[in-house]
Structures are given as C-alpha cells and as structure tokens.
Symmetry: C2
Subunit: 195 residues, 2 copies
C-alpha cells in the first residue's frame, strides 16, 4: 500500500470515529486504533491532528463535489437537473446524513479555533447561484423574482433541511426532504418547467 492510499484509509477511519464519538472522540489515539496503526505509524502519515482532520474534511468535500458534478453532467432537462443537484446537497441517504454529522461536529469544534478551516466557504452558495442563473436564462423561473434573494433563500432552505434532518431524522426523513425540495423548486419555476 503506498503513502497516499494509507492516508486515505486513515482519513476514512477518522470519519468513522467522528461519526461515532463526535469531535471530542477524534483523538489521535482513537484514530490510530480505528486505523489499526500504532501512534508512531500514524504520525508518519499525519504529523499532527489538525492536518489529519483537515485532510478528512477535504475528503468529505471532494466526494460531495464529485457527486454533484456527476449529476450535472447527466443528460436530462435543466429543471430536473436542478432538482437532482439540489438533492445532492441534502441528506437523502444514510451516507450523506453521516457526512452532515461530520460537517456539523467539525464546524462546531473548529469555527472559533483556526483560520485554516473554512467550512463556510464550501462552494455551495456559488453552485446555487449558477443553478438559478441557468434556470433564469432558460426562462424556467417565474417572472418577477429577485435572483440574489432567491439564491440566499434556497441556500438557507437547503442547509436548514440538512440541519433538521440531523436533529430529527424521523420527522425530516428522506422522503420528506425530497418532497420539500421539489415543492420549493416548483414554487419558483414556471408550470412548463415541471409538466
């Protein structure tokens, strides 16, 4: 196994530990145990904890980004593509809910601690801005909308759903999330967009 593969396995072990025990449980010792490595061997791959955590969060981010680009490259009508892209941003399966869990624990822990972690600038706002601009360009948005406010509204709505799914996944379950996103999108799109 080469250096990069080992780092990836350690990052995946880190995500499992955060999911199970939160950031408080994500000690170098616990991560070494979950990785099946000695402390010394772990330090060989990640000299300090901050670097390890940052690498693991980047892994979450890269996977989410890859999923989003995969959806955007599909051949389907723009309005359906917008719907499926938005559905990638909210927890619609166990895997994405676990990622949200890691994001939440990570953000709460690091937001006041280090300028190196920039959880709030994850590109989602820009993505939503582009989606709405494309729908507008294709004349699929209802007339009279304020695009800047619609962007912030949709961004807040999507992150609010993710937060609520995390706090009460029984009420805000996967089926309900899909219903809500579809409902919002229909409310801002023309009838022709979702025939």
């Amino acid at each position: 196994m080469d250096h990069d593969e080992r780092r990836l396995l350690i990052a995946e072990a880190t995500l499992r530990v955060i999911k199970q025990a939160g950031m408080e449980g994500a000690s170098v010792r616990n991560i070494a145990r979950e990785s099946g490595l000695s402390l010394g061997a772990l330090r060989h791959y990640f000299p300090n904890q901050d670097e390890l955590i940052a690498f693991s969060m980047n892994l979450v981010k890269e996977r989410a980004t890859a999923r989003i680009y995969e959806v955007m490259s599909r051949d389907m009508p723009l309005s359906r593509k917008a719907l499926h892209t938005l559905l990638e941003l909210v927890p619609t399966d166990d895997n994405k809910l676990a990622e949200m869990e890691v994001w939440f624990a990570f953000t709460a822990h690091y937001r006041n601690k280090s300028a190196a972690f920039d959880a709030q600038h994850d590109g989602i706002l820009q993505l939503i801005e582009q989606l709405l601009a494309a729908l507008h360009e294709a004349e699929l948005l209802r007339p009279g909308l304020d695009l800047a406010l619609e962007t912030e509204r949709l961004y807040a709505f999507v992150d609010g759903i993710a937060l609520h799914a995390l706090l009460d996944k029984k009420r805000v379950n996967y089926e309900q999330i899909e219903k809500l996103i579809t409902y919002h999108l229909k409310s801002i799109c023309t009838d022709a967009a979702f025939p």
Copy 2:
C-alpha cells in the same frame, strides 16, 4: 442575594464562557472563575455540570420565548405580527447572535450524549405552524399552498438563516436577514397582506 438570584448570575456567567470558549471551555472551573465563586460554592448551587448547562440553556429558551410572546401580544395587523415574530427567531442583533452561538455549541456537544437535552424540540415548529394557520384563517395566504410543507419550508429557512448568520455574519448581516424574511413572507402572502 438569594439562592435563585445566585443561580441566575451563575447561568449568565456560563453563557458568557460558552460564547467565548465554546462548550469545551465550559468547565466547572472556568465557570466558577467567571462567576467569582469558589468551586465549592458553585457546587452548592449546581451539584453537577449537566444541571448547570441545562439550566443555562433553559434561560436562553425562556428569554427567547418571552420575547416572542411580547411581540405576539402587540396590537398590529396579523401580517406584520407574523413578520416581527419570525424576526425574533433569527439573529437580528448581537444578543440573539450570541444566543445562537450558545445553542449551536450546546447542540453539537450534547446531541449524542444525553436524552435529558432536547434541543430540537424547542417549540419553534409549533409556533410557525400556528402563525401560518392564523394567516390562512385570515385569508392572507396565497391560494393553493400546502400548509404542512410551507410550515417545514419556513422552519428550515429560518434555521438555515440563523446557521448562516453564525458562520458568515458579514454576508448574512442583520439588514440582509430582515430582507430575506420579508421576501419569503411576501412570496406566500397575498398582495393585500403587505400593501
């Protein structure tokens, strides 16, 4: 100073510590120092940390509830009352942003730890449900809306704004928040509601 007054002062010191140092900094030792009490004296008022933190979070909740009832008791048109009630649920001043900070730190820390803390059932969903029902009753909502989905949508929107204000208060500033809430409310209300 009587027992209850002292407990209140300790809770306020606890909130200041959480605001400054997060939940990780909210040790009994730090809270005693911020309260100007010895560890022994602090234990006289709060035998353990969980009880102290729960009491402090309840203080935040009670103050928010009191503010909301004050707004709802005002004599003004229903649509404006709905707007001002919703504005109480989002950080529109430094004090409310600090409360949100405490809520976030508290929820992230305790959500997997104790059944005694029930941050997600704070009555906000029921409040929003009632608000929309009252607007519907008064025929101030646009026809054809799904009230159940509108309730979840508004709840997610409001908490998403609060989250974003916390993560990037420069972009999601107090003026922007008021604009967003007003915009959403206008989008679901009839033109007569906000003449």
